[in-house]
């Protein structure tokens, strides 16, 4: 007999998928404006009984850095950050990310905030998980207009890091560094392979049978709702309230 599948929200599915992708590592760092990766990192820590270390950059509590803004980057350069998250205004089929602009650089049609740490962290963090909830031909393109950071590098370039996966609101892609190409790893419940093909601007590999993304189990849901959500409220009060019903304390 199987128990009835518990109900869950899309954010909970994405967080539990990302927690699986994090795997068994020593240190996960999460940048600004990343509530779902932050949920995933804290969930991974709960399930690992305190492993990995989690550094949430905006947090006072979940952030052990004491050497200023550079310490995150120095720590990554030393090989002491195993997992990081990047997004992009555009992401292409070779894993290149664009956080800068569309059109001419000095007079663009569209301008994004800027590259943040991507021009460095993509090269030195072994497992970079790309995360973009909007899965459309506007965001997932065949070729980015501007490469903030490339998905792969020539063999002589110092490169210990790069993308391992791309998680969207429709599916999970894995990245094959040698082929410079994504493969469809799973499709979220309620979505289909055809829909992913229709809304993806780049070509990707896929098996004849693509599995559904595993739903979060009851334990993961309990940990996210009871333990992780109150911790998130420190830096993502709106998210913690709208997804998990944590009351905002003024």
């Amino acid at each position: 007999m199987t128990a009835a599948q518990p109900e869950f929200r899309p954010e909970e599915l994405l967080s539990s998928v990302i927690a699986e992708l994090i795997g068994d590592v020593r240190h996960v760092a999460v940048g600004n404006a990343s509530p779902i990766p932050a949920t995933a990192a804290l969930l991974a820590r709960e399930r690992g009984k305190g492993r990995p270390y989690v550094s949430l950059l905006q947090s006072r509590k979940h952030n052990f850095f004491t050497d200023g803004g550079r310490e995150l980057f120095d720590c990554a350069g030393q090989g002491r950050i195993d997992v990081f998250f990047l997004s992009g205004g555009e992401i292409d089929g070779e894993g290149n990310v664009n956080l800068v602009s569309i059109g001419e650089h000095d007079h663009p049609k569209v301008r994004f905030p800027g590259s943040f740490g991507s021009g460095y962290l993509y090269y030195v963090v072994p497992k970079v998980i790309l995360f973009r909830t909007e899965h459309s031909r506007r965001t997932l393109v065949s070729k980015v207009s501007f490469i903030s950071a490339p998905g792969t590098s020539e063999p002589n370039v110092y490169r210990h890091g790069g993308p391992i996966a791309l998680v969207t609101n429709r599916c999970v892609f894995s990245f094959d560094k040698a082929k410079k190409r994504f493969a469809l790893a799973s499709v979220h419940p309620g979505h289909s392979v055809e829909e992913v093909v229709e809304h993806t601007g780049f070509e990707f590999d896929r098996a004849a049978q693509v599995p559904f993304t595993s739903a979060p189990d009851a334990d993961a849901l309990r940990l996210m709702r009871e333990t992780v959500a109150p911790e998130l409220a420190e830096i993502y009060p709106q998210f913690a309230q709208s997804v998990f019903g944590v009351k905002i304390v003024a």
Binding site: Q58, G69, H105, P108, F116, N156
Partner: protein, 272 residues
Amino acid sequence: MAVIASTIESALEAIADGCTLAVPRENSGVAMEATRALIRRGIKNINLVALPTSSLQADLLIGAGCLASLETSAVSLGEFGAAPRFTAAMTSGTLTLKDSTCPALHAAFQASEKGIPFMPLRGLVGSDLTKHRPDWQFIDNPFGDNDPIVLLPAIKPDVALFHAPMADRSGNVWIGRQRELGTMAHASTKTIVTVEKIHDGDLLADPILAAGTLPGFYVDAVAVVPRGAWPLPLPDHYAADGEHLAEYARMAATPDGFQKYLAQHVHDRRAA
């Protein structure tokens, strides 16, 4: 030796039109009241360098027409969305921007801190950022073999400006764990700091406080400006004023709305 200025305006005198001004990231202690005072003064042609990102501060200075150029790795209002005046200036081609990446800015400030002309950095090979940075140079690692690495010229600002929790009467400034504020001061010719309050006593006398103190030796002027980072946060002291930032995002979405914001919150407001 630092001077405790009697007014914010007098503390800011060293920030002249056309200078290179270094400011910290949005959650590290941004001197927002000082920024409003500079806009009221009508400051012009500033080369702003954000270590390494900026939010409301850069957006206000761009919208008010105070900048000649901006060097940063990003400008955004975070959860309140894109920085509207930055975005408008970029898409209309009116802002000279040196696009960077966070550790490149940290490293270039560290070069000045050490008094050396450049700093090498990993990453950046194959990034389009380098196409727009003729000042960055690639060399083959002289200690390696066929190993391209980028060299970043030192950034040496004329003035560093930030807001901190407290200073003593000798101009020693307590920055706590916001160590990049120390790097900014070491790298810059002059440093101007606004603080929440004056600490009675010597910050360097107590080893626990001294470890988080920027010595007054590096500081040229201090002004007491309670809530001087508002509406941005001061770490460990007060949070961002989200309601105000949301209002800014709404008003600054149009040029007219931005001018109204300036009139209401910059020109009609004086330091407390």
